[in-house]
Assembly symmetry: C2
Homo-oligomer: 317 residues x 2
């Protein structure tokens, strides 16, 4: 960890969904040495490259280093894990060929308990995580529409930020991705749950509704608040102090967002895997492990688990 992070790192992108494609293309466009694992649509990506559309610009990356296996990529300085947590089983095979003694494996996954599976494979000292506040959608192989470039927050797994963490943030910033390093990644993850747990959850549980509908219904809006309070109280038991003003801010922002379809609802409705355990299941288990009462969160988890398990035509976890 005290080995200086190279200023020109060799970078692997594992996962060719919206996030992997977006960040990888940004980094490559800025001149970094980026290698993409692309398991479906690789021919198209190699032939036509990557195209990003953002609110302010269009980015085209003509030459893409795309591979079918991580063995072909080989060891890198930075490995960005951009597959969904729901695809974690595959990581045990994908990651080992990519690491050397000082590799940093940065998982972009959502929710709680996402660093642990990476740490089990590559070791905790190689493990870091990022929380991505971004709106991006993959519309085809190598084609990503980014509606909100947002912010990336990175941190180490179970430790404060180190020199290498700040070096990685600098790499992203050079590539035009706003990135901050944080000393307490876990707290940032709990903060993200403060919004994700209620709004992603109620959107699905109430039958597929957008955030403006939640905000307009007094009961559902109050429920969102109660769920936030359960998250904040549980986080406090783990030493993360999230002020009430942070909850107020979530409501103020959501009120301004209008008709927004939370990402988990999009996943649910489009038959994609939903991060059930990472967003709802793991917080319930952590709450129970410290005796925090989370009756509404647990009820939401049970309702969502049933809905997801019985959804028609969906991919299984």
């Amino acid at each position: 960890m005290n080995t200086p992070f190279p200023s020109k790192p060799r970078i692997a992108i594992v996962g060719s969904g919206a996030l992997g494609t977006y960040y990888g293309a940004r980094l490559a466009k800025a001149g970094f040495d980026v290698h993409f694992l692309v398991r479906s649509g690789r021919a198209a990506v190699m032939a036509r490259g990557i195209r990003l559309k953002t609110p302010t610009e269009r980015v085209q990356l003509k030459k893409v280093h795309a591979y079918a296996t991580t063995e072909e990529i080989g060891p890198c300085d930075l490995v960005i894990v951009a597959v969904k947590a729901t695809a974690n089983d595959a990581l045990a095979k994908l990651l080992p060929p990519l690491v050397h003694a000082h590799t940093v494996v940065l998982t972009l996954q959502n929710g709680l308990g996402v660093e642990e599976p990476v740490a089990e494979i590559v070791g905790p000292q190689r493990t870091a995580g990022a929380i991505c506040y971004i709106g991006a959608m993959r519309t085809g192989p190598g084609v990503v529409e980014c509606t909100f470039p947002g912010l990336m927050m990175i941190g180490e797994f179970g430790r404060p930020a180190a020199d290498r963490t700040r070096a990685i943030a600098a790499v992203f910033n050079k590539a035009g991705v706003k990135c901050e390093s944080h000393d307490n990644l876990e707290e940032q993850r709990w903060r993200k749950l403060v919004w994700n747990v209620p709004f992603n959850g109620i959107a699905i549980a109430a039958g597929g509704i957008t955030t403006d509908v939640i905000m307009a219904d007094e009961g559902l809006r109050t429920l969102a608040r109660r769920l936030m309070e359960e998250i904040v109280e549980t986080a406090a038991k783990f030493g993360h102090q999230i002020p009430r003003s942070f909850m107020d801010l979530q409501f103020e922002r959501t009120a301004k967002t209008g008709q927004y379809r939370p990402s988990s609802l999009v996943d649910f409705q489009e038959g994609r895997l939903v991060e059930l355990e990472e967003i709802w299941g793991e917080p319930v288990r952590r709450a129970k492990s410290v005796g925090a009462a989370v009756p509404r969160l647990e009820m939401l988890y049970w309702l969502l688990r049933h809905k997801i398990a019985t959804r028609k035509g969906a991919k299984k976890r």
Copy 2:
């Protein structure tokens, strides 16, 4: 209240759904003087009478006293309110023509807070209530299919059973309707909620599922138990002691029932009015009035209220 209840009472049935038609026809068939308010399908009922189909017999009542208004019926000794609680607005107009000094108005409505609107119109001393454990469906004007004749429990509003209560129970028993009088109607209502709150509620909230599906899903089954506990703990604050064994019994019975669609789910799916306030809303309000914590019940109420309010093609309350 101490005036003896007549052995041959004049009886009015307000409401021509499954329950009103079934009990009214039973009473008339046993020779009681029964007058039906039938606002839709009256011509058919007058022409073809009432037909009941039960698991063991077929009952046909050829001559039916059916009326368009309660003014035409006039004062009765027993008035059976068999409209849904959701139609209570109409009672203020329907009931007054039916009462004399010693009339008993017996509401068959479900849930909590159903005697109060009757008492406001006819006075608490005239008000009684019944809890009907019955499976019956109206399949056409004057046609009712009864799958489970069950049991009726009757009691006075806010008082123990009186001579008249027992006399009314005797009337029903003479007509082949198993009927018991109880000293504590309110407690019986809470007991009925112990099943209705979780199973009717989860069936709708989880997306339209039958009780066997709830029983087979560990999370939903546990949720049903937690909701029952909230109801039992709230009832206890009102002095009603419901033993844990009563909850166990509900699960044992439900496990045996198989693929059962709770009545509120039937109402919900068929676009009919759902007894939202009587089954979920009023218990939440009563719990709050005594400081009982009902986080799951309240969450269920909010989810159901939203679902019912946004249901497509449904009748409005």
